[in-house]
């Protein structure tokens, strides 16, 4: 049978190519362009090689922001993942309360990020906010606009409030997929509550947990809006995370070269951590 050669079909791919070009490839290449050159406006560029990269990698400012970012992401993961699993385990599996719980859980996820920031800002204000005022009237000196520790605690708490639900919902989905037979068999085998968790529930949740951790890692590592609205990166630079710092460099100081180089490094760090984590999780799967 003779096949008709018709290359016109390639045109069908064109819309996707155009879309990808405009929303990913061209912006990324623009950043690359800025990262290796210096410009003084009017589209005049001077080649700079890796100068900006070296500058960013050597700067204490970047190191500090990276450390703060790692610490912050580490903290919220350390709280949200166990808490999410715990809440998912205590949620009812059957009955009318299931939908009530699910709706309650989903609520924080539906609130726009800047609104979350504004809500917590007002909530935590030391003089009029419910949280701030209560703490201060209990004799605890709390002012997140002045104290770094208070600022950190509030930022972390806000993220936990906003995003633990995501971990809960994903874990709950994983738990719901476990057939009753497993629990019955575990009872027959005389397994303890801990053994049931360790050998049945946790392994069955592994895939959704991987997804949950990846999502929470990426989102928190790139967090901008909420801390920006809540603390503006302060007091001082204590809650200036990577993207807040990046925006300060790019739009505050208008240092486009270093900002572009930092963006690329930032992107590679996220990519690398995700890749390492995912590979480790999946390798365990295969063994």
């Amino acid at each position: 049978m003779n096949k008709t050669l018709n290359q016109k079909a390639w045109w069908l791919v064109a819309p996707v190519l155009v879309l990808v070009a405009f929303n990913a490839f061209i912006p990324l290449m623009t950043v690359v362009n800025y990262a290796f050159q210096e410009t003084f406006g009017n589209n005049v560029f001077f080649w700079e090689g890796t100068t900006w990269f070296e500058q960013v990698l050597r700067s204490d400012r970047f190191h500090d922001a990276l450390v703060r970012q790692l610490l912050y992401t580490g903290m919220i993961l350390a709280i949200e993942v166990p808490l999410g699993i715990g809440v998912a385990l205590t949620m009812p599996r059957k009955g009318p309360w299931v939908s009530v719980c699910l709706v309650l859980m989903a609520l924080p996820l539906l609130i726009p990020w800047n609104v979350v920031g504004a809500m917590w800002n007002i909530f935590a204000l030391p003089d009029i906010g419910l949280l701030g005022h209560t703490l201060n009237s209990m004799g605890i000196d709390y002012n997140f606009t002045r104290q770094p520790v208070a600022a950190w605690m509030t930022t972390v708490l806000m993220d936990v409030w906003h995003w633990t639900s995501l971990v809960v919902l994903l874990c709950y989905a994983g738990l719901s997929s476990i057939p009753d037979d497993y629990y019955q068999a575990a009872h027959i085998d005389g397994a303890s509550r801990w053994a049931i968790f360790r050998y049945i529930q946790l392994p069955k949740m592994k895939r959704v947990l991987t997804i949950a951790i990846l999502l929470r890692f990426m989102d928190s590592f790139m967090i901008y809006t909420e801390p920006f609205v809540l603390t503006g990166g302060g007091p001082g630079n204590t809650t200036t995370f990577l993207s807040i710092d990046l925006v300060k460099i790019a739009l505050g100081q208008f240092d486009l070269g270093p900002a572009a180089a930092m963006s690329l490094i930032y992107f590679l760090v996220v990519l690398l951590i995700c890749w390492v984590f995912y590979t480790l999780m999946m390798r365990n799967e295969e063994q």
Partner: protein
């Protein structure tokens, strides 16, 4: 090892709001002898699994008592009952090796590690799992996984009974009979009571010494496969066991003998004349034959099933099935049939009546 006794056990699942409870188990009085191989046979939804779960304690019956020997266990939790159960879908602990899976019930009970090793090796040998002991259990095939589920039951030397809840449903047909004969073999080796739930009569009849037939939440008959075949106590058993099922024909009684559309039938088990209720005569297709003199019939359909033929005949719009040898000629001219009197039984309101109930 113990004898398991049911005393008036009933169970109703909690009904939807505003509705009356429906009993999934109705008044079960049953003794499971120590070391017996039982099959619990019945259609889906007849209460087999409910009954099984009350033995293992996964379910507490709403009424009645359950005894292991003289100890009442009705409210005892599963882990204290010394019962093993294998489920329809194989349950393995994915992250563990086959060895750890088999050792799991023993370790949970705090058994010494050297004893664990010894016992697991022994059971793995029985189940042909020795080669796989160090493999991850999740990598095994469905029948391998089901063997592990089974092994976790067998590994405990103190179990009173092993319960099987349709364990071969997800196994390939050619492995099904292998595993089934393995079960039979294990029963002979270990002498532990086994109760096997199935809706497949072939499985039930090949596995069990005694078959317990359930219908609509009640035990309708307990007996050996031969008893169930020859003397079904309830119409349901007649239908359910045997292929094709038993013929049931409406009849009147004349001095204890059944009369089917003015044809007097002979039975070796006559009844008294004073039966009130719907009377029927029951005879298996295997015991109906063509004769020169008997009930005139019209042949409706002949199905050749290889070793034998199933002939469907009609008399006055009543359908009668018969099983005939493959090489027997089917009469075409005025066929007449007769029932074997020794195998012709009388049923009143679905239950067997008349003599010969306990021969």
């Amino acid at each position: 090892m113990a004898e398991i006794r049911f005393k008036n056990v009933q169970h109703a699942y909690p009904p939807p709001k505003g509705q009356k409870p429906v009993y999934a188990l109705k008044e079960v009085n049953q003794i499971w002898e120590d070391g017996g191989a039982y099959a619990l046979l019945g259609p889906s939804g007849c209460g087999k699994t409910t009954l099984l779960n009350t033995i293992s304690g996964l379910l507490t019956p709403s009424e009645g008592e359950i005894y292991f020997d003289d100890q009442e266990v009705t409210h005892l939790p599963t882990s204290d009952r010394r019962i093993a159960q294998v489920f329809q879908f194989p349950v393995v602990y994915d992250t563990m090796t086959v060895f750890d899976n088999l050792a799991f019930p023993l370790r949970n009970r705090g058994m010494d590690e050297t004893a664990v090793k010894q016992r697991v090796a022994q059971i793995a040998e029985m189940l042909d799992l020795t080669a796989n002991l160090n493999k991850r259990a999740s990598g095994l095939t469905a029948d391998g996984k089901q063997k592990i589920s089974l092994g976790r039951g067998l590994v405990r030397s103190d179990v009173n009974a092993i319960l099987f809840d349709e364990p071969l449903t997800v196994i390939d047909p050619h492995l099904k009979w292998q595993l089934r004969s393995k079960l039979k073999e294990l029963h002979q080796q270990t002498g532990v009571t086994m109760i096997y739930v199935t809706h497949d009569q072939v499985e039930a009849l090949t596995f069990a010494d005694k078959v317990v037939v359930m219908y609509d939440g009640a035990v309708v008959q307990v007996g050996t496969p031969v008893e169930l075949f020859n003397r079904p106590k309830h119409k349901f058993v007649g239908y359910f066991i045997g292929s094709p099922g038993m013929n049931f024909l409406p009849c009147k009684l004349d001095r204890g003998q059944p009369v089917f559309h003015n044809n007097l039938l002979n039975t070796s088990y006559p009844v008294g004349n004073d039966l009130s209720g719907r009377t029927e005569v029951g005879v298996r297709p295997e015991f109906v034959e063509f004769t020169d003199d008997g009930i005139p019939v019209v042949i409706d359909k002949i199905e050749d099933l290889g070793r034998y033929q199933v002939v469907t005949v009609k008399h006055e719009s009543e359908v009668i099935k018969m099983v005939v040898d493959e090489d027997q000629q089917i009469p075409t001219d005025n066929p007449k049939i007769q029932f074997n009197p020794d195998m012709t039984r009388i049923y009143c309101d679905d239950w067997l009546v008349g003599g010969g109930q306990n021969e």
